[in-house]
Structures are given as structure tokens and as C-alpha cells.
């Protein structure tokens, strides 16, 4: 382009050269005549004209173009483009220096602005992070309940794009089945006072459920009232708090429980309750050793989304008392519920390769995220569960798998997070132990039942043996009187046959028969006393009265045998629930025994005393005491050391005392003689 500049400079001097040449020739030929002056003037005019035209042309070509370039440059500068095309200002050294300087300034500013933008972005991110980290959701709504603003954590958590939120009504985003929040918003609009709703359950239309403390307050922006909702998500906090008490609460109440169905129901309630593990549905299968099948045993969860929303709304803002729910449960509740019916009808063979059996065998939890495409899920299970994501956890007690729990979020499609799985795993350990202990309890109970039946059988056979003993004893005992009766009857017949007129002999024989018959009756009534069922005891008696009554009855016998009787009776003795006549029988038998054992001039002491919630009666004698060998058989029926005794006296005594929920023991006193001690309970 240097050539072009030289050319242009040369062009500038072309008229001068032409003018100079003309003037030179004219000088030599001496044309400076008067006639020529006009031509010369003309030539000068042409020269001036050409020169002006040249200037105009050069100006146009160079200056105007350069100004255009500068203008374009400035135009670009305004737009933030600081580059200069190399060829545009070529040769214009000063200008291009200025422009370059300007460009530098521009670039400098650009850097400054750029660095400030970074600062602002950082700042923005910083605040966003803070908002996210406190996990509070901000919503601003106008008077028509339309959302004007929602923060990022809100849209992230509820999985909504900004355009799904802004300009929509808040009731388009949430199920307000409880009406609590809607009411609160209206209240705040009217009164302007802030309201805080604690532990509020929120279920979004896209089925994301949270528990939050919601603060609703009114602000004024550009003369218009707006409502700000700040939601502090406490779902996980609630869950963790609850989890701690849940496990202890559940296991405590399950431990008290022996109804296996109720235990299973409780476990699944814990798995599904919103404040518990919060799954939508849960089902429980137990392995049956006998049939070698994994059987559906219990299921908890709604049958439809409508039911799910209803349940969710019903418990809004309330703590579910799981234990209460469990207590309300009765085995009859198993009826109804399509979901439960479905689960109960499921039986997997241990040999099958169904997913649930795999969980059982491998004792490992399976978290299935996409059941439709996961090859580990067999088609039957896929169809049965009918949901993409679910978790199956084994119930392991000791080292043995006893069953599995399957849980899913069929209705809100909430993802199953790792911490849900961990909680479920912790919980299943507890649950498995509870089931196992309940099952063993049931087994123990069944065994106890069997033992009791066997015991009853033993008691029954013992009774039969007793009857046998009674029969044998009666046989012997009544033999003597019968022999006597028969013998005398024979004698009467013989007397008559021989024609002997001996009425005195016959009368004598008959009176013997009569006496022996009476003796037979007495023996029989003794036996009857023993075998008679115990009466229903409903009276309250003073034991001292019974003792006094007995003693006065035997007063004559004491005198006859020269035995002294001494009473030491507690005056404040409480009344005892008892049968007066039966206890009198007891005292009669004991005192009679004591008399039989006591020689002449002996002493019998009877005392009553109070020992806590019991009363004690003691009957002591100064006789020879009881043979150590006999002590253990003393109260057995038909055990007797007396030649003429039936052996039922003390047996009857023990039976009556047992019927009174009391105890009787016999000991030998160190100072000699026997002591019988009766302990009877005092009703509270």
C-alpha cells in the first residue's frame, strides 16, 4: 500500500508538473506576449480546478473512509468488541495509535467488568448454597394465591421446573385435603399476623411427601400484599427422631404381645407409617419349614391412590401412635383389603427361583430400581408387585432366615434412598427377633397346652387311681361291718330255723346289725366328704369363732380324757373368705387327731396370728409327735397309723385348705409333740 500512497502523492503533483512544463516551454518560445496572457490565466484556472478536484478525491478516498472506520470501530466498541481490522487504518499511524490505545482501554474495562461478574456469580452461588443447605423452601404468592416466586431448593425438591411453578395457584401444586394450610393462608391475608404450622404433612400433586414446619407471613411489595411461605423440611429429622423411639416402642409392645398376626401388623405399620419409615406399602412373608414355602402373611397399605391421599390427609399434623394402632388391631382385621388378600394368596416354593426366595436364601436385601427391565426380577414377581422400584429385605433371626419384608412407594413414586434402606435393615433385625420370640412363645404356649392336657390326663388317672384306692379301701373298710351284719343275720335265721324262741338273742343280733349299718353309713359319708366337689366359697368368717365353736363342741371329750385346751387367739384377726362348716370340719379333724395323740393330762394349744396378708392357725399337741417316715404321706388319702381310722381325716383337711387357696404343713416341735400349721390368705 506504500505504492498506493506514493502514487496518490505523485498524483497530487501531476498538475504542478504539467503547469511547470507549460510555463517552461512558454518561457523558451517567449510566448509571454500580451496575447498569450489570457491562455496562461486559463491554464492556471484549470490547474487550480484540477488541484481542488484532486484534493476532494483524496479526501473522499482517505479521510472519509478512515472516519467511517473509526465510526465503525466506535460502534463495535459500544457493543463490547475491541478488535480493529488491520487493513482499515493502514498507514494512518497516529490514528491507529490512538485507536489501539482506545482498544487497550476497552479491553481493560472489559476485564474489569468480567471480573466483577465473576464476583457477583460467586455471591449468587454462595447465597443459593446457603438457601439449599438450610433446606428451606420459599414461596411468594399474590392475593389470588398465584405463585410469584419459588426458590431453587423448592423446585429441586419437588422436582418442578420454574414454569410449572410461577403463575400457578398453590392448590395446583399440593393436595390440601386437610385444609389446614389453605385456612392459614386466608387468615394471614386477612389479619396480617404470621402463622407457624408445625410438623405439617404436605403431599405435592406429583406425589412428593414431606413433613415441614411452615411459616406463613404477609409482606407488602409496591403497594400490594403478598404472602410468603417458608417451609422447613423436617421429614428426615422427624423420621430419625421417630425411628429411635419407634424401634424401642415397637419391640417393647411386641414383646408383650403373643398374637403373631398383631406382631406382623405392627411391624408393617412401622414400615409404612408416615412418621416411621414412610413406605407406601409393605408386605411380609414368612418361611414355613414344614411345607418349605415362603408364604404371604401380612400386608399394610392402601389399595388405591385415592385411599392413599385420604390416609395422608387424615393424619395431617398428627403423630401416629403406632402402639395405639397396634392395640386397636384384632386378628379379625385381616378380612378385606384387596392388597392383603393378594399377599395372603402368595406362596413361593423354596426350590423356585423367584426373587423373594433369593432374598430369603441369600439373606441379602435387594433394591430393585427398575423392575420392568431388571433381569433379577422374575416375571411373576414383576407382575405381582406392579411397581418399578421396590426393596426386599430378609428377616434374619440368629443365622436363620425366617422371612422377608417387601416395601415400595407405589403411590407417590418417591425414590427409595440409601438411608431408608438402612433404617429398614436396622428395623428388620428387631422385627425378626420379635417374630421369632413371638413364635417361640406360641410354641412354648402350645407345648404348655399339651403339657397341661397331659397333666390333666395324669390328674385324671391319678383321680382314677385314687378312686381305685378308695374302692380297695372301702372294700376292706366295709368288709368288717358287712361280715358282722351278715353273721348276725345268719344267726337270726338259724335261731328262727331251729324254732328257738329266743327274742332276746334276735333283738341283740338286730341291734348289732343296726349299729354296724350306721358305721357303714359313716364310712361312706367320710368318703363322700372327700370326693365331693368343693363348694363355691363366698362368706367371710372370723377364724376365732370357728375355733371357739369347735372347742365348745369337744368340751366334754376333753374333760373325759383329761386334756387341757389352751387358746391364744389374735383379737384383731381379719375375716377370711371361707366356708364356715368346712373350716369347722378342718378344726374338728385336727383337734381330734391331736387328742388321739395326746396322753392323759396332756395339753393342746390352738393359736391364731396375722402374718402380712395371711392368717396362720397352729394346732400343737404334747403327744408323741409324728414319725419322720410318715410326715410326707401324712395328707395322702387312706394313709393312717390308726387301726380303726379310714385314713381320710387329714386328706379331707388338706383338700378343704387347698380349696381355700391356703396351705397346711405338719412339723414335729423340738420340745415334743406335733404342730399343724394352716396358712390362709386374707382378701385384699
Amino acid at each position: 500500500m506504500i505504492n498506493r500512497r506514493l502514487l496518490i502523492q505523485f498524483l497530487f503533483y501531476v498538475p504542478d508538473i504539467i503547469l511547470g512544463s507549460i510555463l517552461y516551454f512558454l518561457h523558451h518560445e517567449d510566448y509571454f506576449s500580451s496575447g498569450m496572457i489570457n491562455y496562461i490565466i486559463l491554464i492556471l484556472i484549470v490547474y487550480l480546478a484540477v488541484k481542488v478536484l484532486l484534493h476532494i478525491w483524496v479526501y473522499k478516498v482517505f479521510v472519509i473512509n478512515q472516519i467511517e472506520s473509526v465510526r465503525r470501530y466506535i460502534h463495535n466498541f459500544k457493543k463490547g468488541k475491541f478488535s480493529l481490522k488491520e487493513n482499515e487504518l493502514r498507514g494512518q499511524r497516529y490514528l491507529s495509535e490512538i485507536i489501539n490505545e482506545l482498544t487497550d482501554v476497552g479491553r481493560h474495562f472489559e476485564n474489569m467488568v468480567a471480573s466483577q461478574k465473576d464476583e457477583i456469580d460467586k455471591f449468587k452461588e454462595f447465597y443459593n448454597n446457603i438457601v439449599l443447605s438450610v433446606s428451606s423452601y420459599f414461596l411468594v404468592i399474590n392475593q389470588k394465591n398465584e405463585i410469584i416466586f419459588a426458590n431453587k431448593s423448592f423446585s429441586t425438591n419437588f422436582n418442578l421446573a420454574n414454569e410449572d411453578i410461577v403463575n400457578n395457584s398453590i392448590s395446583d401444586l399440593f393436595y390440601f385435603s386437610g385444609g389446614k394450610i389453605a385456612d392459614a393462608i386466608e387468615n394471614v391475608k386477612k389479619k396480617g399476623e404470621s402463622i407457624v404450622l408445625r410438623q405439617t404433612r404436605l403431599l405435592s400433586k406429583n406425589r412428593i411427601a414431606i413433613i415441614a414446619d411452615v411459616k406463613i407471613s404477609r409482606i407488602t411489595m409496591q403497594g400490594e400484599n403478598q404472602i410468603v411461605l417458608v417451609m422447613d423440611d423436617i421429614t428426615s429429622k422427624c423420621r430419625k427422631d421417630y425411628q429411635i423411639s419407634l424401634i424401642s416402642q415397637i419391640s417393647e409392645s411386641i414383646q408383650k404381645d403373643d398374637e403373631i398376626d398383631r406382631v406382623l401388623f405392627s411391624i408393617l405399620t412401622a414400615v409404612t407409617s408416615g412418621s416411621g419409615l414412610g413406605f407406601n406399602r409393605a408386605m411380609l412373608f414368612l418361611y414355613d419349614l414344614a411345607s418349605e414355602t415362603l408364604d404371604g402373611k401380612m400386608a399394610v397399605g392402601p389399595d388405591s391412590i385415592e385411599e392413599a391421599v385420604q390416609i395422608w390427609g387424615a393424619v395431617q399434623g398428627e403423630k401416629i401412635d403406632i402402639v395405639k394402632k397396634m392395640e386397636d388391631y384384632s386378628p379379625g382385621d385381616r378380612k378385606g383389603g384387596f392388597f392383603l388378600e393378594q399377599v395372603l394368596s402368595k406362596h413361593y416354593k423354596y426350590t423356585s427361583d423367584a426373587l423373594f426366595v433369593k432374598v430369603l436364601k441369600e439373606q441379602r436385601a435387594y433394591h430393585i430400581k427398575d423392575a420392568w427391565n431388571d433381569t433379577r426380577v422374575d416375571p411373576d414377581t414383576r407382575e405381582f408387585v406392579g411397581v418399578g422400584e421396590f426393596i426386599a429385605v430378609p428377616l434374619v433371626a440368629g443365622n436363620r432366615s425366617i422371612g422377608i419384608i417387601v416395601a415400595d412407594n407405589k403411590y407417590n413414586h418417591a425414590p427409595i434412598w440409601q438411608d431408608n434402606i438402612e433404617l429398614l435393615s436396622i428395623f428388620t433385625v428387631q422385627a425378626a427377633l420379635s417374630i421369632e420370640s413371638c413364635k417361640s412363645l406360641t410354641t412354648v404356649r402350645n407345648q404348655m397346652e399339651k403339657i397341661k392336657l397331659r397333666q390333666d390326663a395324669i390328674v385324671e388317672s391319678e383321680k382314677m387311681a385314687a378312686v381305685g384306692r378308695i374302692a380297695a379301701h372301702i372294700a376292706h373298710e366295709i368288709r368288717n361291718p358287712l361280715v358282722t351284719v351278715g353273721g348276725y343275720a345268719q344267726r337270726i335265721i338259724q335261731t328262727v330255723n331251729k324254732g328257738l324262741k329266743n327274742p332276746e338273742s334276735i333283738k341283740n343280733a338286730a341291734s348289732v346289725i343296726l349299729k354296724e349299718s350306721e358305721r357303714l353309713e359313716k364310712i361312706l359319708s367320710n368318703v363322700m366328704d372327700f370326693t365331693r366337689p368343693s363348694p363355691y366359697i363366698r362368706e367371710f368368717n372370723n377364724l376365732n369363732e370357728i375355733i371357739n365353736d369347735t372347742v365348745s363342741l369337744l368340751q366334754n371329750v376333753f374333760q373325759e380324757r383329761k386334756i387341757t385346751i389352751q387358746l391364744f387367739l389374735e383379737k384383731e384377726i381379719p375375716l377370711v373368705k371361707s366356708d364356715f362348716n368346712q373350716l369347722k370340719q378342718v378344726m374338728l379333724n385336727l383337734v381330734q387327731n391331736a387328742m388321739d395323740a395326746t396322753p392323759q393330762d396332756g395339753v393342746i394349744k390352738i393359736s391364731t396370728e396375722i402374718d402380712g396378708d395371711k392368717v396362720i392357725i397352729r394346732v400343737k399337741d404334747t403327744g408323741s409327735g409324728i414319725d419322720e417316715d410318715h410326715l410326707k404321706n401324712l395328707f395322702e388319702p387312706f394313709f393312717t397309723t390308726k387301726v380303726t381310722g379310714v385314713g381320710l381325716g387329714l386328706a379331707v383337711v388338706r383338700k378343704i385348705i387347698n380349696d381355700h387357696n391356703g396351705e397346711i404343713t405338719a412339723v414335729n416341735n423340738p420340745e415334743g409333740g406335733a404342730e399343724f400349721r394352716i396358712i390362709l390368705p386374707v382378701p385384699i
Binding site: G487, Q490, V512
Partner: protein, 120 residues
Amino acid sequence: MSRILVVEDEQHQRELYAMELEDDGYEVEQASNGKEAVEKVKNNKYDLVILDIRMPEMDGIEALGKILSRDKKIPIIIYTAYSNYKSNFMTWTADAYVTKSSNLDELKNKIKEILSSRSV
């Protein structure tokens, strides 16, 4: 005339046997328990003893031993309502074991049998 000692605690039975045996021509004495029986045997001579077992003071088993230790040859018939004493070897030393019955024929036959064998 043979002398028979009836040892029986049941008064009516004792009297019955006495009457019956006297009717049959025996001389009968009575004892109401073992102790009494041993006393009587010590002081008197009997041709036969009818001995009950269950008695107060001293029972028939003990009395049996004591009577036999004094007179080995005296015939003894145990006459009891209980059949189970048959298994007690002490009773084996008696000449007969008869279970009580209102029909005294068995007892009477046994007495006759023993006394006749002795008299030979």
C-alpha cells in the same frame, strides 16, 4: 373239748364267733387285741387260736410271732377282712389264712380240719 382263743378287736364279731363256736361245742375264750392274746396264751393252754390282724395296741402279725415263740405247735388260723396280708411272709407261719365272711362255714371247716389232724 377243744379250747379256742378268739382274738378280735371288733366286739360284735368276737361275740358272734364265740356264740357260734360254743354252739358247735367248743370252749371259747376271747381277747380284744394282740397284747391280750399273748397274755392269755402265756397263762393258758389252747388247742387253737383264731387271730385277727388289724388290731390296736398289738396287731395280729406281732402277736403271731410272740405266740409262736412261746408255743411252736399251737395251731393258728388268721382270720382277717384283708386278703393282702397273705403276701406278708409272717402270716405263712400260721396254719391257715381265712378271709372274713358273714358265712362262718369256711372258718368252721378249717377249725375242724386242723383239730382232727392234730388229734390223730
